[in-house]
């Protein structure tokens, strides 16, 4: 027996069956079911003997083969025989399997990109120019979710990930507002909310403004009735008493 060499190459029961049919040089439309079944079972035993875990798919096929074999041996006494060859149960899937193997072979023979044919890539002299451009982003939500799921699946040990977005605290938000006012100078009230992404964040931002006004760190003004509220920092560069 030459099973040792070929043992691993069968990736499924159909693959194994096909091998046995080729090895015995038999017609797929007239499979000698007893011979093929015996050899199939020998192979399964061999796998077990070698302590290879036999996938369930192999066992299901084994029972199908045994069933067909018994049907072929015993005459049908129930009168339910519809005259169909019981071997059709494996011939049909085998034919389909062979068809797709063939199609796979044809695909493989095409002029494959980066194997047989090659295309141009962005040449170096254009790469530097590209830096200033802002192309449209070709991304979708599915990719983002997929990325997040990968991180969770590959989760580093000891890292707790919860999906609930972290809530802003009012203290954190006051610091953000102070930083913004320091950098941007006097700022319209509306701008503080321009990047808020949830109702809860809007509420926290609003509370933070009230807090800052209450503490006297920020002065609020409204130049005209129609205009937006204006915020000005009322502490100097060294007045970072909130940072402690």
């Amino acid at each position: 027996m030459d099973y040792e060499v070929k043992l691993e190459i069968f990736e499924g029961p159909l693959d194994l069956l096909l091998h046995l049919i080729h090895k015995n040089e038999v017609d797929i439309f007239d499979i000698p079911i007893a011979t093929i079944t015996d050899q199939y079972l020998e192979y399964i035993d061999m796998m077990k003997a070698l302590n290879i875990e036999v996938a369930g798919d192999f066992l299901i096929m084994a029972s199908t083969l045994i069933h067909i074999k018994s049907k072929m041996l015993l005459p049908d006494l129930t009168g339910q025989d519809d005259g169909e060859d019981p071997r059709i149960e494996i011939t049909r899937p085998l034919l389909e399997y062979m068809r797709f193997k063939e199609l796979a072979g044809e695909l493989e023979e095409r002029e494959l990109l980066d194997r047989d044919v090659f295309v141009r890539h962005l040449p170096s002299y254009l790469q530097s120019q590209m830096e200033d451009w802002e192309p449209r982003l070709d991304v979708n939500l599915f990719q983002l979710m997929d990325a997040f799921k990968r991180i969770i699946d590959e989760g580093l040990p000891g890292v707790q990930l919860t999906l609930q977005p972290e809530r802003w605290s009012v203290t954190e938000k006051t610091e953000v507002i102070i930083d913004l006012l320091k950098e941007a100078g006097p700022t319209f009230f509306q701008r503080l909310f321009s990047e808020d992404r949830s109702l809860s964040e809007v509420v926290v931002t609003f509370l933070a403004v009230l807090e800052l006004v209450h503490l006297g760190l920020v002065k609020v003004s409204q130049p005209t009735h129609e205009s937006d509220i204006h915020l000005v920092l009322s502490i100097d560069e060294n007045g970072e008493k909130l940072d402690g």
């Binding site: 990736e11 798919d57 797709f100 199609l103 095409r110 194997r115 044919v117 141009r120 939500l141």
Partner: protein, 197 residues
Amino acid sequence: MAESLEFIIEALLFTSEKPLNAHEINSWLSGETLADIRQALGNLKTQYDSMGRSFALKEVAQGYQFRTRPEYAPYILKMFKTSPTRLSRAAMETLAIIAYKQPILRQEIERLRGVDVGGILKTLMEKGLIRIVGRKSLPGRPLIYGTTTRFLEVFDVKDIDSLPRMKEIKDMVSDEEQTAPKTEEHQLDAFEQTSET
């Protein structure tokens, strides 16, 4: 515009990393008609075919792309210092099933292959060759798979219907669906599209 339409299109094709189609080109060349662009693409293809240089204009993935001819592959591979990455036989067979029978459910692929294909689907997805096209309205809402534009690019296919023997397979599929037992039947018309476009 002063430059000829053919040369403008040639310049675009020569710098693009992706196949370009007449519609895309049209969106960048506002003064031109789609018919003229199609004509120019056809002319360019004919020109390059007859020039017999080391590269030619190929129709692939519903567009046009300059590609080297296969006989130069060994030299290019040597320059890139790479050997081409190959798909395993199992992956190629699974891909063939998806290409020819899409849109297809995983359980149908597994019925045809006789084995679990979870790991292979993941590989093919990572390589960008297949994608989830939607969900079937069945218990468990199983995912429906199909091939991508990248698949067409990699396998040098103009569009999915021009895969050789596609018609043959499709005819056979419809025969089977008429005769196959109820449990194996999958009516794939009632699936929902995902946001992937």
